[in-house]
Amino acid sequence: MHSNAVSVISDAMPLLLKGLWWTAALSALSIAFATVIGVIVGLMRISGNIVVRGISTVYVNVFRCTPLLVQILFLYFGLPELLNFSWSPEVAGVATLSLNIGAYVGEVVRGGVQAIGRGQTEAGRAIGLSRGLTMRLVVLPQAFRQVIPSYINQCTICVKDSSLLSVIGVAELTMRGESIYSANFQAFPILAAMGALYFVVNYVLTLASRIVERRVSIA
């Protein structure tokens, strides 16, 4: 049984690694978009303009208060039906993950910016920096250092949540694994291998986070 498990895993590994590649690629893309969305939404959330604030608040709450699985199905099946278009499961998947993780990153950014004291903004304004420059040069760099742990946490969540894209047929790690063990009936070794692969990716991310944190805390 033991040597059998090893050979099952090594037979499945090429396919699993292909899946892992998709998982990593789609997650990386989603994280990149989510970061942009998150910074914009986080700043919108603290805008003085009530309309801007309202829009961002609605967005964040919609994505935080509905299940990701429903969001995925909605963007892949629901939206194309409503608007009469079609897109690939990969694109729909990245869009959903970006929007979902973006909402959470937005909250992280908002919290980080709000944690920087008013004195910092005033000191920036007092030398004559505009609102935008003060935000960019004074507040955001400090907020950035503060939010690294929660931001990386969102990235690991993104990698894990990408497994849900298997339901719309994205050939990422979870979907590959499922199709392998439903053919060879070796659920235990395959699922264990899948888990290990997810673990490695996220553990490396966590380690990277700690290194970055230590680097920037010198400053």
Binding site: E122, A123, R125, A126, I127, G128, L129, S130, Q142
Partner: protein, 244 residues
Amino acid sequence: MITVEKLEKTYGGAAPVLKGVDLHVERGEVVCLCGASGSGKSTMLRCINLLETADGGRILLDGKEITGRRSHKEVDRIRQRVGMVFQHFNLFPHMTAAQNIALGPIRLKKTTKAEARKEAYELLAKVGLAGKEESYPRQLSGGQQQRVAIARSLAMHPECILFDEPTSALDPEMVGEVLGVMKLLAAEGMTMIIVTHEMGFARGVADQICFLDQGVIIERGAPNEVLDHPKSERTQVFLSKVLQ
């Protein structure tokens, strides 16, 4: 240089903080602003720097009104002419002393990085901090941080500097070094409005001392007049408390 006319300010629905303050500061003059906690001293400085918008009255800089509706650009330009030093220094913690000072000139004055850096070093030497250029704020004592903050303000070549209790957050042994720098600036002819409770310092450098009480200036004049022969009872009470 700075003229404040009937300045009024109310925060939200609360009682008015400033109730018609008049103040005139000549170029090169040093004005010390005193008064009990909550009397509106910080509010007044913040209005002059346009960090707060006045609700009534006007503020003129070199005869030109700076209050009223202004574009963001105009406000930023006015702030470059009026420096501000805060009680809690508010240095940027992610930048070295030199970077704190060079930031404004690089971003707002078309100064090259090398020039701004050179000037930052010169300014740090001037405030007695040669050798601390590459230190981060948290590696500096309170007195050193406040001197960096003064240098940061000087780097914009402001026409006047507002000081809001620059030594109140300092340990007693560091007060002197900061006051020393301010004396130097006064001697160089910098126009300054200083909120302070350091009466000895005020007597030494101020051309004019003003007492703010409940949103109005109740007493003003040359230091020896105001400090030795205060007319109003409130000033007498305040002084006896600060001077004891």
